[in-house]
């Protein structure tokens, strides 16, 4: 029996200064250099070889970092993998900003290490850098302005995807569905992009029996003025079902959307019998989601939208517990092989709005992650409609690349709608320099002063990288900016300066702020590393 065993020999692979910095900095620089070409509106591609032998063309810093799984030198590897993790988290949470994070991070680490090698102290330096990070965030907060109108939304999308038709569509879509809107991406049939809106709210959950599809041409089951009963039951007892049907009739319902986890053939047969259909036409659909928490959330949303009450197994309820209060009402209910939805839920609009506020508050207080996405999707479903973008392409790879771009652009748009926008092209970083300079002049501690000096230089790095990628000479651009005076940025596409308070070139404030904060605090932490310890590489041993 083969099994992997990790071993560690005392004294083996312990690395001290100056090798610690030398190794880590090399690793950081290698990864940052691989990502730097992708920064800005005129990016360059990075080609990676993969196991199939076909080169993969990438312009997404997060993905490039993700693909670099190991460097041969183990000292370098630690620095590179630290940055890789930071960048991947950035991409996951914000959808964009990885290249900016990488170049900022590298600059701060390089300059910071130089200061420490010359006798600086890592802990006060870290503290100074963190103070500087807060100052940068505060300056950006002051600069942020709201994102309004489809053209501005399209510009934010364009700053991520560099695909004008896609940016235009995303601009219109998000101007319609809003920051919490329910947005789906699907592979298109043709080569081009297309989009559609669906009014009302819908959930994943198929109709339990195809016999219930009453509009075959549309492949849909539709009920008008339908009662809605929301459960997580597995319905297997016809007698209990009869009780629910009778209760629905008593509650004045003329049709019923029955939401349940499962229903057996016998019960479907009963519902589809002519006698039952004459009494009460019923569509039975699958309760959304398999995860308990998500399912309970969806059930609660449907109940509030329609003005009903949920029936749940964990509360010990059965279909025999049904009372008139359990039935909600919708102007229209529909279902197909994948989804079901409602239009015109007749729930108390005050309760709906309060529920909306509760979910928004919950969302605002949550860390990024799956649970936050779920809450956002729930808010989106209350908003009265959703949008789907169909990404076409000639090959599957092209379709997937465009889907990925659209997904990242959508994340950046949502962030910009919630937190506003900042002048783009590295101008937001440059605009933080006066505040950093003032802090530098006031600081007394030499390490704190060094931190501000490092940040003052680092704030220029994004524009330097953007300019170099666009084939321009950064020094010439900085000369132009000096001539233009304070409050100006540089647009490398138009090759001219612009006033940042009227900037058409914009970036999502949440992305820029996250990039700045994560790069500075991440670099500050890395600079406190003094010793590296390498475990012995895993070896395969034969266990007899």
């Amino acid at each position: 029996m083969n099994k992997k065993k990790e071993t560690f020999a005392p004294g083996f692979g312990v690395v001290f200064q100056p090798r610690t910095y030398q190794g880590m900095l090399k690793g950081v620089s290698k990864l940052a250099a691989a990502i730097r070409p992708t920064l800005g509106p005129l990016p360059r591609m990075v080609a990676l070889t993969n196991s199939s032998g076909k080169p993969e063309m990438l312009d997404d810093g997060g993905l490039i970092a993700r693909r670099m799984i190991q460097l041969p030198d183990r000292d370098e590897d630690i620095g590179a993998m630290y940055l890789r993790h930071l960048l991947w988290r950035m991409r996951e949470d914000c959808g964009d900003g990885t290249a900016t994070t990488a170049v900022l991070f590298e600059e701060i680490v390089q300059q910071g290490a130089r200061h420490l090698v010359l006798g600086g102290n890592a802990m006060p330096l870290r503290s100074g850098l963190e103070k500087g990070a807060r100052l940068v965030l505060a300056e950006m907060e002051k600069m942020a302005r709201p994102l309004e109108g489809h053209e501005m939304v399209a510009r934010i999308a364009g700053s991520v995807c560099y695909d004008e038709p896609m940016a235009k569509m995303l601009g219109e879509i998000f101007d319609t569905i809003g920051e919490y809107g329910h947005f789906e991406l699907r592979a298109g049939k043709g080569r081009s992009l297309d989009y559609e809106y669906v009014t009302g709210s819908f959930w994943e959950g198929e109709v339990h029996s195809k016999q219930m599809i009453n509009r075959p041409a549309e492949n849909r089951a539709v009920l008008e003025e339908a009662g809605v009963l929301v459960t997580d039951f597995m319905i297997e007892d016809v007698h209990q079902l009869v009780h629910a049907i009778v209760a629905a009739k008593k509650a004045g319902k003329t049709a019923l959307l029955l939401v349940c986890n499962a229903i057996n053939d016998l019960c479907v047969g009963f519902l589809m019998s002519e006698q039952t259909r004459n009494v009460l036409p019923v569509i039975a659909v699958k309760t959304p989601s398999m995860r308990f928490e998500e399912q309970m959330g969806s059930m609660e949303d449907i109940a509030i939208l329609t003005g009903g009450k949920t029936l749940t197994l964990h509360a010990g309820e059965t279909l025999e517990s049904v009372t008139p209060e359990h039935f909600g009402q919708a102007r229209l209910a529909w279902a197909n092989n994948q989804h079901f939805g409602i239009q015109g839920g007749q729930g108390d609009p005050r309760a709906v709005r309060r529920h909306f506020w509760t979910l928004k508050k919950l969302h605002a207080g949550m860390e990024n992650g799956d649970s936050r996405q779920i809450v956002r999707a729930r808010i989106g479903r209350l908003m009265g409609g959703s949008a789907t973008l169909f990404t076409g392409g000639s090959t599957e790879m092209e379709i997937n690349t465009r889907k990925d771009l659209a997904e990242r652009a959508a994340e950046a748009i949502r962030g910009a709608m919630l937190h506003g926008v900042l002048p783009g092209g590295g101008a937001a970083f440059l605009a933080c320099k006066p505040a950093l300079k003032a802090a530098f002049e006031q600081a007394v501690d030499p390490d704190e002063r060094a931190a501000y000096r490092i940040l003052l230089r680092a704030m220029e790095t994004p524009l330097r990288a953007i300019a170099a990628n666009a084939g321009l000479v950064p020094e010439e651009i900085f000369a132009d900016l000096k001539l233009a005076g304070p409050g100006c940025g540089y647009d490398v596409r138009r090759r001219q300066t612009f006033a940042i308070d009227r900037a058409e070139l914009i970036d999502s404030a949440s992305v820029v702020q996250a990039a700045a904060y994560r790069a500075i605090t991440g670099a500050a932490l890395l600079l406190t590393v003094d010793v590296l310890i390498h475990l012995k590489k895993p070896e395969t041993v034969v266990d007899t």
């Binding site: 109108g149 489809h150 319609t176 009014t199």
Partner: protein, 285 residues
């Protein structure tokens, strides 16, 4: 001078954009759509040929900038280019009741309904699509377009849209004071909202925040509001009140004859306003 059509309830009024010149206006009643071409002196049944003696309740009327006349009926819109021939534009089942109509700066048309939120038409009213993105409350009682922004008065407050009704956002109108039955703008400066509980609210920031004005003046619901020649008119029960200082102080308008029923609707022009009552009277104010 008023027109007496005592068997009708006058539910809605709409002035033609060139009302001061042409004198054209429309009145929605619980039986038909009335039209005047002389500034409200005389009225005729605009749907006489269409309804053939049957009642055809019209809940809202609108004369667009292009001169198209729209009448909101149960389940859809009646539309006419010339005021004589009418086309039907149904909304589809289940049938909603149209409560308000408005035209956006881009020429898109909005129809508010009592059950299904807002329907939008981008082809001059020939076809309509249900469109409620962001509208968390689909019980619409009033629509207003002012300063390139659309407003919807609903059961729980007021929503606004800055993109011609494509998406709606909440305002901070106090939910406990709603429903909002009436909305109007007075110049570029103020917006007003009248509630079912008889309170008047004013906004000076394009509808984002609202403050109560004219406290204690209104005893019953404010069913209609209109601005005319710098004055604000409010219909509340049997009284029509007028304010010259942006809703701070009010005086009762003195009708030339006894008011039958209560005031239900108002429409304000550049110089004149019209007021309709549940007793079938239309006053020129």
């Amino acid at each position: 001078m008023e027109f007496d059509f005592s068997a009708h309830q006058i539910i809605g009024l709409s002035l033609a954009p060139d009302f001061a010149l042409s004198g054209a206006a429309y009145a929605a009643t619980d039986q038909t759509l009335l039209v005047t071409q002389d500034g409200g002196q005389t009225w005729q049944d605009a749907l006489r040929d269409l309804r053939a003696g049957e009642d055809s309740p019209v809940m809202a009327a609108l004369c667009t900038r292009r001169g198209t006349v729209l009448a909101g009926v149960m389940g859809g819109i009646l539309r006419s280019e010339d005021g004589r021939t009418w086309q039907s534009a149904p909304f589809g089942t289940p049938l909603p009741m149209v409560t308000a109509l408005a035209e956006t700066p881009s020429g898109d048309l909005l129809a508010g309904t009592a059950q299904d939120g807002v329907f939008i038409s981008r082809d001059g009213g020939s076809s309509w699509t249900r469109w409620n993105f962001g509208l968390l409350d689909c019980h619409v009682y009033a629509l207003l377009v002012a300063n390139a922004t659309a407003y919807a008065g609903v059961e729980t407050g007021i929503f606004y849209s800055t993109n011609n009704g494509r998406a709606w956002r909440e305002t901070d109108f106090p939910m406990e004071e709603a429903p909002v039955l009436s909305l109007c703008a007075l110049g570029d400066r103020w917006l007003f909202a009248g509630t079912e509980s008889g309170k008047l609210f004013r906004s000076a920031d394009r509808g984002r925040s609202w403050q109560e004005v004219g406290q204690g003046v209104f005893e019953v619901e404010i069913s209609a509001l209109a601005g005319c020649a710098g004055k604000l008119y409010a219909a509340s029960g049997e009284r029509l009140l007028v304010s010259s200082d942006g809703g701070e102080s009010w005086q009762a308008w003195q009708p030339p004859r006894t008011v039958e029923g209560s005031f239900l609707c108002l429409a304000g022009g550049e110089e004149k306003a019209l007021a309709g009552t549940s007793g079938g009277q239309i006053f020129i104010v």
